[in-house]
Symmetry: C2
Subunit: 358 residues, 2 copies
């Protein structure tokens, strides 16, 4: 696949959640169709997709049929079983590539990769037993955070250690999963760069956003972020370095801690990212369209921001606020079409656009 | 239907073109599903809808099944056969209502309605024969325009008379369809107001846009329009008057000629309107979402504009410009997923956002 896919082609998307949903809408703006592959019934993305396959990642026949029905494959989450990727990749290109998935699926591989690029990460040590953890605490110290190497998201699979006395409980929380102890980073705030890279190697980054988490879940992203001009440049250069090294195609979210000594990479996500939702109302080309452009081989948009924006997630009972939010000036409401409201569940988000920001 | 439809409900949309497509995307942002009814195969709207019914407006069983599968019905075009509306309305509310359709489907009924409200329209006379036309020319004069009363769009079903010598050819162009001769209005430019009204009677209008047509087809809409503060207020009041009189629910496009003597109503469209596409990138709540809000009974957004925008239609071979447009700063490209490029066919549009406009 060397040139852009013809308009009217179909982008296959693994995962039918809100990211797949917004990717599907963005694809439609460019004249492309989408086909969602999702094990769960009635996926939110299916409501705005041309086709939906409801099947398990173990269903080889369904995977092959899906791959043959689409022109390129992308995904909305990084924890796709390797066996499924092997089957899919035999039939169609997967963008971003397998290496990006391999690196981002495991926290230790990720940290080693980033360190290898000369980027700063928090001090860390692998933990595969209670004894490992005791030893890790000796070098990393406390406070620190124990995290499962894989499958963590929105603060899940994490336990904080305030002292070595917390070790036993923390290790029990990991349920014997391979884990990593991360040293505490004394950061003032977190920012993230939403970066995109196309097949020809061009890179475009959005203005970094400043993230606030509550209970381990992203609560707000604000652009512009509090960031010196130098750090702003560093952030973009760091993201570009990661994308280039991976020969990456698509959008990546790069989370960075801002410290007195510079930026430290927290983690990367090889997909569109919650902290990039502000681009829907702050830029002519949002992160979802940018990802689709990269995946189908169209030139990237330049990612310039036309407005200041505060993105706020609507989580669980925040849905009760929707009636008020609908009538607030310059507020764009984005709901995900999820049937059931659950505590901690991302139900939607809003973008507050500042019209007088320039 | 007195309160808002529950999130997750389904909006039925008659018509599967680009307007239905963008309505469907807007519905998804609010957590609603859509079901498209369209006689033509592979409608653009179907690519981003939850369900599609491909059937004729004469297919009573299909109409009944569609009505029963949705929670409310709206439409993207005004020329829906009355018989189909009768069947649908027996099962579900149609919004905007039948009266709005009746008035806007026929140019003479429309002009009489508008005049009855005290609004200025171009001088006009009904023409049902060559003799009628000769008589009409005596009172209306030339230059003037002969138009079919029904089914005209994008300049189709129109013939210009520069002198009475053009009468025979003009009448021949109408192919015996009931027609209307409209007197020439000496206007400096055309503006349109995209206005919305909810079930409780609340009205919200977008800032008027300035329209430029080429060959009878809308080419560009620019906001803000060249318009005095007084005329801006007049435009909004006129639109509100029309909506209130019709007990209207939804978005309406109201085209106005700007003359030295004030605003003259050209025509109204009981639906989202091409001249309102700029709202997608100029407002937090665009015309498509505003229409869905009204139709499902959610409160209207306030319609405030956060940016200056120039909307430009991509017609036929304009598609060749897409590669260049994709890389222009602050340009949002919206393509409609139509399979075949034809001369005069609306293939997409762009919104050029001015970031330094405030």
């Amino acid at each position: 696949m060397s040139e852009a896919l013809k308009i009217g082609s179909t982008v296959g998307i693994l995962g039918g959640g809100q990211l797949g949903r917004m990717l599907s809408v963005a694809a439609s703006r460019l004249g492309y169709k989408t086909h969602i592959f999702e094990p769960g019934a009635n996926p939110p993305a299916g409501q705005v997709a041309d086709q939906v396959t409801t099947a398990s990642y173990e269903d080889e026949a369904a995977l092959v049929a899906f791959a043959n029905a689409v022109d390129v494959i992308t995904y909305e989450f990084e924890n796709i079983p390797t066996s499924a990727l092997d089957i899919l990749e035999a039939h169609r290109d997967i963008r971003p590539n397998r290496e990006a998935l391999r690196v981002s699926q495991d926290r230790i591989i990720e940290k080693n990769f980033l360190s290898g690029l000369g980027l700063k990460v928090a001090p860390f040590a692998a933990v595969n037993s209670a004894a490992d953890l005791d030893k890790a605490i000796e070098t990393i110290g406390t406070p620190s955070i124990l995290k499962t190497c894989r499958f963590g998201y929105d603060g899940k699979g994490q336990a904080r250690l305030n002292s070595s006395g917390d070790a036993a409980n923390a290790w029990a929380d990991m349920a014997d999963a391979p884990s990593v102890l991360e040293g505490f980073v004394n950061f003032s705030h977190e920012v993230s760069v939403i970066a995109a890279r196309g097949p020809s190697g061009e890179v475009a980054c959005y203005d970094p956003g400043e993230n606030v988490h509550v209970g381990g879940i992203l609560s707000t992203t604000t652009v512009p972020a509090k960031l010196s001009a130098g750090m702003r440049m560093d952030a973009v250069l760091m993201a570009s370095k990661i994308l280039n090294e991976l020969d990456y195609i698509g959008v990546m979210g790069v989370e960075l801690f801002v410290t007195a000594e510079g930026l430290i990479v927290n983690e990367v996500a090889p997909r569109v990212h919650n902290s990039g939702h502000w681009t829907q109302n702050g830029c002519a080309v949002d992160q979802f369209e940018q990802h689709i452009r990269a995946v189908v081989g169209l030139p990237l948009g330049d990612g310039k921001r036309h407005s200041d924006v505060v993105m706020e997630n609507l989580i669980g009972d925040d849905m009760d606020r929707v009636p008020d939010l609908l009538v607030e000036s310059h507020v764009a409401v984005h709901l995900y079409g999820k049937e059931e409201v659950k505590a901690g569940r991302k139900m939607g988000h809003i973008n507050r656009v500042s019209p007088d920001s320039k």
